[in-house]
């Protein structure tokens, strides 16, 4: 077992857990879980039943984007579409 990481340590790390993501973004755990299950947030998992790890910078940016889209009046399927089209554009550019 381990101690809770400090905010400085979390903000300096490349990967964060869902709990740490809730801590730095102020989002509810249930919301983050829903976004993850809907494939709106991408994560890495070595094996089944191991912790899901999120890339901190990308995921925080994505959560902020989702919040902006929600505020602009889009519903969840529309947000998913918007995120997918963004990802496709990014893929074409690279």
């Amino acid at each position: 077992m381990s101690r809770q990481r400090t905010m400085d340590a979390i903000l300096a790390s490349e990967y964060v857990s869902i709990g740490e993501l809730a801590r730095i973004t102020g989002c509810r755990y249930s919301t983050l879980k829903f976004y993850t299950e809907e494939a709106m947030l991408l994560f890495e998992q070595a094996e089944q039943n191991l912790t899901r790890r999120y890339r901190r910078e990308e995921t925080v940016e994505r959560i902020q984007r989702i919040k902006q889209l929600k505020e602009s009046g889009l519903n969840i399927p529309q947000i998913k579409e918007a995120l997918q089209s963004c990802a496709k554009q990014d893929g074409k550019q690279t």
Binding site: M1, S2, R3, Q4, T6, M7, D8, S17, I18, G19, E20, L21, A22, R23, I24, G26, C27, R28, Y29, S30, L32, K33, N49, L50, T51, R52
Partner: protein, 329 residues
Amino acid sequence: MKDLTLTQSFAMIALNAQNSKYLTTVKKIALRCMAASVILETLLDSNSGTSWTAVDLRKAALPDSAAYSRSILEPLNKKINSARALSLKRYLKAAYSLSGRRLKKLEMSVADSLREQDLLQEIPNLLGCDLYFDSSGVPYMEYRSNIPEYEAITETIKAEVLDNGPVTDEAICMLWLLRESGSFSDFFSLNDLETAAARMNELYLHSPLAKALYPVRIHHSAELAAKQFLHWKKSVFKKPFAAGINFIYPVFERSQSVFIDTEAWFSNADKRLEDVETRLRKYGHEFTVLHAGSVPIIKIDNLVYKAVPQAIYGRVPIHGVRLIPRIPF
């Protein structure tokens, strides 16, 4: 979010919405668990916590440690007065049975440390505005935790406990503190309770800290029963039918049926609202009218109420309004 210690994090949850002036039964439970959390925090921070079966706190109260830690560790070491390491249970039980004066000192020092960071404030309780609430001129204040910080703490624990993966020592201690303070069922939803209980069993099998901590029970059953009863009573009188009974007989749950008297008899809707506003502002409440009319809907400190006109007939009839929490349909 700020980096808070275990005691500060637990205090954000335990002190929220508690009476800040008096030592009520519910607040006593919270403070006793806060005293236990000081022990756990000290053990987590010091090397002596590695074994967890026999712990030693004799040298833990250092002059540079937080004021709230010293307020518990110094009297505790005097009380126990042992020359050898003791069991974790012995320390936790001793911390739980500290006097009311010690608990008040702990409350003041923890509240001060949170106030310095703007994470805790004292706000007036609406019940203080009630015509029949007699406090002999002492304002009825309650603690209010900073909402984003409160949510960050609670959501982090939920995420750690309900999601797969390792659980930190802080979350293990927090689960135990929530259980001993009787807040476990408030903290987790009905669906999540089963998962949380299963997770605690799993932690008991795999974590040395959980193995030492989870069998320890320090709560007083009578106090917890009183807390659960008050909580149940409040939740019952929030339901529509019971709220109607409480409107007629507010003695059942006064906080859900606050009566504010108006200046004149048979005053019109505008005058009534003006009197209510004057009274609420006098006691330091935020007041917004959402919908005017004969039964206005008003927002007081982020909660929405219906101001229903009522007359009370005693020796002299008193006219006024009764504030009923608005139930969302």
